[in-house]
Symmetry: C2
């Protein structure tokens, strides 16, 4: 039985990274001639053929769309997939989903898996690790070979393709202004580490709203969380300061965790501390009190992404222009903030 | 450009169902000779080739696993995928996910999409519509051609393959006994319609627990919900009866919706009415009060399914025996039930 060797196996065998193998196979100048030769010889020996997307695209339409998302445990990406499914199915396309699990290597492997002739185009949101490494060669390559790509939510300026994003900075600004208008004087921010593009933009919106309202930025009130699953420890530290009356959290898990800690410590919500989140998912609706939040319109985002991709797949002449669609967030007032 | 015609297009063109096309292409005797001839002639005209799994399996290993699930908006299936990913990745396999959206046609199309040589085996949970129609020809076919298949959660006795299920009837029994032991005298059941296998089994466990405790079954206290998204209307009707002090709900969404209605009507939880759910998802943990529930161990289920599938994929000699792994549910006591 002839087994096809995988990128991962080549990397392991030659003791180099998956990224190095991937680049060496494409003759990237970033990789030394010596390593390129070694990788190519090894690949040849084991009959490994890198995908030639351009050839497969010319030969057939598969009517499949590939989607790569960072994770599905949190609600946002599943709503985007619902939107993609809705539009794709109505236009006769199937959707194939792969998860990167926030890993750069898995993202590269996923693209390799899907781009072997199984799909007509990609919709994707990049992993945290890819954002941190700033290594986008795998995306550049599929785009260069003529495979349509639409990025959503977590995107990169370095890739020329269609994109769908929400106005993160404006949404955050709107959230913080809502806290100010409902009487909050000192507002804390619970956000992600800076290399996550959406976290960075939301932090910017938070700071701008404070500055425009002459409130000043207190860096002590900003906590940046790397490990989402264990966010409670970091958030406890914020509560030890005991000097704020409003919290803006960049996702609903952070917001709910903070509300729970506040309740355990005897604060009333929203009388003592008001809370506002980002992403209107299943947790916000079912929280107690229900969470005021910025709706990120995941379903709409998925619908637009699928529309853009299918348009590119089906156009007769190749269109070299790309557009970025910006979805406006909207404020959903519930019980975790005071009424104006 | 040669476009490959899809099952869906053939069905539309000939004005027959996708199932009919799929069966006619495989020479199924269920379909009239006339229709078979027509479908095959049409398929030939447009170069449609049904997959020959047996041939593709012999030629190569793709190191990809296909997963088909009914939906991802609710938490359970996403936890199973996390478990599958964990084991698959550690053994060098990629995971490709397709959604049936609870539709039989989409399930057939998904299998057709994935079984074209992209994957080495399937892990799947069947759609509601497939359970209702009791049409499993697409599953029988991949199994007959030698493609390894593992079914989980929603399975069918008609298919001979490896399976992973939870002990639904026993779990429900345990839930209802817990309500009885903590003082409930009249226990309502919020369940799904009967053709959903897990709903049926949980209903059975509920009834058995009542009968074994000499409490009798009152059919008025059993409500069967078809449209999950609009379950609140049905649940309101139950509360209009106003003659129960315990609720067992077969999923966490039903349980949370019922708790919200109870709170709106001024009942105290658990003093006036106790609640217990099934599936320990993200909602149960963040509900207020937190929800006592039967953990369904989704991650473990995914891990076992992936282990079983990879074992079958990699075995040297074809093993004709199949096993069904039963995962025991466990009770997680939180604040929606009284303490013993």
């Amino acid at each position: 039985m002839r087994r096809r060797i995988t990128l991962k196996q080549i990397a392991k065998e030659l003791d180099v990274s998956i990224s190095t193998v991937s680049k060496a196979l494409r003759e990237s100048k970033e990789i030394s001639q010596d390593t390129r030769d070694k990788v190519q010889a090894f690949a040849k020996l084991y009959n490994y053929k890198p995908n030639n997307i351009a050839v497969s695209l010319k030969n057939k339409h598969t009517k499949n769309i590939g989607v790569i998302i960072p994770e599905i445990v949190h609600h946002f990406f599943t709503t985007v997939i619902s939107g993609i499914e809705k539009v794709a199915n109505s236009k006769g396309y199937n959707v194939i989903v792969c998860l990167s699990n926030e890993s750069f290597d898995k993202e590269v492997i996923n693209m390799e898996t899907l781009a072997n002739g199984s799909i007509d185009g990609f919709i994707m949101s990049i992993s945290k690790e890819t954002q941190k490494k700033k290594d986008f060669h795998h995306l550049r390559e599929v785009v260069n070979q003529g495979m349509p790509l639409v990025m959503f939510d977590r995107v990169s300026d370095e890739i020329y393709c269609d994109k769908v994003i929400v106005d993160d900075a404006r949404g955050a600004y709107q959230a913080v202004e809502h806290l100010i208008h409902t009487g909050c004087k000192r507002i804390a921010l619970i956000t992600t580490v800076d290399y996550v593009s959406v976290g960075k933009l939301r932090t910017l919106g938070y700071k701008n709203a404070l500055l425009d309202n002459e409130m000043g930025v207190d860096e002590d009130l900003i906590i940046k969380i790397e490990d989402i699953e264990n966010c409670d420890k970091e958030i406890e530290k914020l509560f030890d300061l005991d000097n704020f009356d409003g919290v803006f959290a960049v996702n609903e898990l952070f917001a709910l965790t903070a509300m729970k800690i506040a309740q355990e410590r005897g604060y009333r919500i929203p009388e003592d501390i008001s809370f506002i989140g980002f992403t209107d998912g299943i947790l916000s609706k079912h929280a107690s009190p229900t969470l005021t939040t910025l709706a990120q319109h995941g379903i709409e985002m998925g619908e637009i992404a699928a529309d853009m991709l299918i348009e590119k797949i089906e156009e007769e002449e190749e269109d070299e222009s790309f557009r970025t669609e910006i979805i406006r967030t909207s404020l959903i007032q519930r019980d975790s903030t005071r009424k104006i």
